[in-house]
Assembly symmetry: C2
Homo-oligomer: 198 residues x 2
DNA sequence: CAATAAATAGACAGGTCTGTATATTTCTTG
DNA sequence: CAAGAAATATACAGACCTGTCTATTTATTG
């Protein structure tokens, strides 16, 4: 085997690895990161402990892999929803909140795993914290792009404001068990969009 | 001693108890609930373990007490800020976001301990979860009251929308280390308020 | 002062956690 | 089939966790 053999590297994808990451994502989503031990993940996945540690140097790396998996899934779903919304940037921006509502109404909805990751790993140097922040920045960049395309006066501010509405909707939908938060957010977004015109 | 002696009751306030709750609030705020053990709280507080368990039946009850303490402090500060904003309900509503910004810029700002409590204790039956939800509902009720006083068309919807902005601002300020989120939220709130007029 | 209450130190039980070591078995693939 | 790679079961180290028990000391207060 040629290449970097330093140590404790992550190995390339495999069926076992994928299954492990999927299971980890499920369990961490349901129970949190500290509250769920790797033994629980291994038990549900039906995988031996050494297999985990052959693929990941530590639990935190498994968490990062789970966050990355969710990011792929989420990006894919959002992309589809945006494409279905047509070509208008404004329609795309509003479609985001419809997409959120579908998520809120799904029975697997447990709030945002990135907010939770940043909360449970509050130090900036923690890998899950960094992964969570990176995700949120990617999302913000998407909003920025759409706001610029929409040709509003202050795209930067509007992007942050729409981000506030989205994050707030997630938190409210989670804590109050209130999927309607997405509609409230969409209406507010429409108002801000109208005001920000040209 | 007359009265209920069933067992494992919380005892009335005392200097030790107060100090314990203050220390717990500090540490849980900094490190999270599962990640911070009671030994760390006891060490920083300089209090014996049995003293803790004489005042609280369990760690979760200590967490609830810490959440309650923060709720008092927060309500007190907000009340002051609202009073200083004058008599106009609209001015009071906007003043909330100025008050948030002061918080965001304080060096102790670590995000919202109630969101984190609900995240780390995701089951509705968990005491910290219930305490967190109760706090958020109280805050929402305050928003409702001000929106009604402001005499807008749909006070209920506006209250939820302002809640979205506030929660979103907290999350964004925390994750992106961006206290300016409060200004963005305030501007958005002003727009929604103007649109909701009469 | 004397009696009662509160807080203390320290050990400990019983459980959980992450991560490692070892030896064996299964799978893959030339 | 045979050799190498991957996954397995099992045990274990070492640390940490919550909560309890006991015996002693310190405060409080009638």
């Amino acid at each position: 085997m040629v290449g970097n053999m330093s140590k404790a590297q992550e190995k390339p994808s495999s069926a076992k690895r994928d299954h492990l990451v999927d299971t980890a994502l499920e369990l961490f989503t349901e129970g949190g990161y500290h509250a769920v031990g790797i033994d629980a993940v291994l038990a549900r996945a039906g995988v031996a402990k050494m297999t985990l540690y052959n693929h990941f140097p530590s639990k935190e790396d498994l968490i990062v892999a789970a966050l990355a998996r969710k990011a792929e899934q989420s990006a894919q779903g959002l992309e589809k929803a945006l494409a279905a919304a047509g070509a208008e940037p404004r329609a795309k921006l509003l479609a985001i909140f419809d997409w959120l509502e579908v998520w809120f109404r799904s029975k697997e909805f447990r709030g945002c795993i990135y907010i939770k990751a940043a909360s449970e790993y509050p130090r900036k140097k923690d890998k899950p914290h960094q992964a969570a922040l990176a995700f949120k920045e990617t999302r913000l960049e998407l909003l920025r792009g759409l706001c610029r395309q929409a040709g509003v006066k202050d795209a930067e501010t509007l992007a942050w404001q729409l981000s506030l509405l989205a994050e707030g909707a997630i938190v409210v939908a989670f804590m109050h068990a209130r999927p309607e938060a997405a509609r409230d957010a969409k209406a507010a977004a429409a108002t801000l969009l109208a005001k920000a015109k040209n």
